[in-house]
Symmetry: C2
Amino acid sequence: MSTILKSMTIEQFVAQSVGKWRSMRSGHSLAFQQFEDVLSEVIIESIEKDDSAVQDLLSTATSNQGHSSDIVAPFRMEWSAESDWEPEDPSQVSSGSCLIIPLKKNDYSGILIRSVGYAESELAESTYQFLDDGTFLLTTHYEQSMAEERIWFVSDNVRCRSSVLKTSAGSGVLQTSFASEVRRVKA
Amino acid sequence: MSTILKSMTIEQFVAQSVGKWRSMRSGHSLAFQQFEDVLSEVIIESIEKDDSAVQDLLSTATSNQGHSSDIVAPFRMEWSAESDWEPEDPSQVSSGSCLIIPLKKNDYSGILIRSVGYAESELAESTYQFLDDGTFLLTTHYEQSMAEERIWFVSDNVRCRSSVLKTSAGSGVLQTSFASEVRRVKA
């Protein structure tokens, strides 16, 4: 009767993530008990390993010099969001993009280099691993905070993404978020 | 650099869940792209195995006759919610309670009997299992739908809960939800 668990590799994960997604995202500010609901579009595209942007980012991430041979399935993520945080200005749109390079350690874990971090706008290095059901687990230490993100597919065309932002020491949980992402199927 | 994974048993999970929680919950209706944000209080209490309510529920759940020896850590969950779904009536409060009986198969999986299901208001039997990081994974088949819930602790006093509701066939995802729950520490 148990669900059969099936893990994933980073190559499979990126291949399944490539595409155009419609995202519903809710942010929870725990101290203030405030909700922030955002609709956005997310586009994920594969990039060639020898793209100059990949090489530039890798050379900036100093701790990984000499490991360019471990690069697996780099990709770019773009998003454009319309937030209801300020209802008096519904046209407020935030957007951005980010280059992401996985460096594989073994089939189920490795390092992820991002040109822009989730919690702070700076280059971020995360560790990733896959749980035994294929959930992608990402841990990032920033100067002031620490983020734990998880992404899991509930079907080929729906994925869920959660994040928890803690203080650097790890004791206080500052905010959480959850996104439901539905693939935009080509017309 | 990888996070050290640590699984859980149902006894540990229930013990850590017992208490009073302040919950922020966001529901995502995927077809309509609608958000529903709810603040609520959740109370989780242990019950004795030989409580008559436990025996009554067990005798109703016919498929588990003869397995009462597998009962582990039954508990009651109560919730009272204030929804913003109808902002013209902010005092709208929904509340309820539910008796839950885990039947242990082995350290990491088993069956959960609930007096009231998550997706449909009827007795529900779910299968549960723990992922290798201690995430509690619950799968319930209802007549018209199928729910997958996950609960994980991000600290001793903060837990996250997500749910995905699919059509019975499992192909269509109808709605998702995510709750951030903070333990109310005694004054």
